[in-house]
Symmetry: C2
Subunit: 193 residues, 2 copies
DNA sequence: GGTTGTTGATTGACGAGTCAATAAACATGT
DNA sequence: ACATGTTTATTGACTCGTCAATCAACAACC
């Protein structure tokens, strides 16, 4: 059965299975065996490729953050004016790949993991800084010195909408979430330009 | 050694120890033995009084939500005008008893627990409905039909500020958090009255 | 024949929950 | 005052299950 070059496929399958399993359980309290079974392999193989349970989680977290980053970059690609760029960051945050039940539940759990794992905390900080930097860049030309404060508010609001979406059963309402945050943004930009 | 009437004291000690232990660990992955030791008793006694680990957690959560509720009610007590009442709800949310490291970490973890425990979910919904109702009551005279939407935004923002505070080491900045949310409120109320 | 892929079986640790036993406080009848 | 029985408080020791991690062995490919 062993096909060569299986490693990347196995790793990807494990990452996917981890996100699904954590999303379904709504908790990091899932076993390596559960994840491995869902990925169609033995738990021993999961350990073989990742070394430890924590590494599997971190890989899954990296995958989630990487999808998120790609979506924001994608939304940003077509935006030219500062105002549109800020909007793009917000909309990218609620794009289909990130703003779905599984990913949100995993996100929330990884937020918790960041409280006890330095590695997870580092990862999360990288992304928070990137989000903040994206927002500030777009906001600076619009609100000048207030850019930092406005970005802070937007970031917190996005996080808040995410965490609340984690609690509703089924898929969350992308448009409603997006509108809520964009409306806040409009208020902040009132009277600008 | 057994002093009579120990039950309420023991229960309270366990609840306190639970919040401290969960806060320090930043995770619900703490043992009953750890909690019990911190509360100065054996794990068997903890089981004797609460029956299960989950019940201990839920009792801790009830305590946190009850402190939170009291603080909001306290802030609300002296506020007369609608605008002041909404401000009071926000400020109450960041009062000293609730907006501190331990309580925030516990809060975040209970948010996660609510994904898998129906009891925890129920408790959380009670709080969310209460917050929303408090906000809407104050907002209705100010913004009419928009009250629901504005309350939604305020609630999400408060949650977001909380969750972000969970990640900073040490005690969070009460005033900064409060100001951020109140500034958002002012924007929403611009042009009213 | 060595590298890569794969698993079943095993180990070792840990933790929730139970239980039997002990001890102090209280209640009651004498 | 005192014996006796009942309730409350408390714990050490134990059971039972679970799970991460390891290992030895086997299979396919080059």
């Amino acid at each position: 059965m062993p096909k060569l070059g299986a490693e990347p496929i196995r790793r990807a399958a494990l990452v996917k299975a981890t996100i699904e399993t954590v999303g379904e359980a709504g908790s990091l309290d899932v076993t390596v065996a559960q994840i491995a079974r869902r990925a169609g392999m033995s738990s021993a193989l999961a350990h073989h490729y990742f070394g430890s349970k924590e590494q599997i989680f971190l890989a899954a977290m990296r995958a989630i953050l990487s999808i998120y980053g790609a979506e924001v970059r994608g939304a940003l690609a077509t935006a030219r004016a500062p105002r549109d760029r800020v909007r793009a960051v917000v909309m990218g945050s609620f794009a289909a790949g990130s703003f779905r039940h599984e990913a949100i539940a995993a996100w929330l759990n990884f937020y918790v993991l960041a409280q006890s794992s330095a590695d997870a905390r580092r990862l999360l900080h990288v992304y928070q800084r990137r989000l903040r930097s994206n927002l500030v860049h777009g906001l600076r030309p619009l609100v000048g010195a207030r850019a930092g404060a406005v970005a802070e508010g937007l970031g917190a609001l996005i996080d808040g909408v995410y965490i609340r979406a984690a609690l509703v059963g089924g898929e969350p309402d992308r448009d409603a979430a997006c509108d809520l945050v964009l409306a806040h943004l409009e208020k902040e930009l009132e009277g600008v330009q």
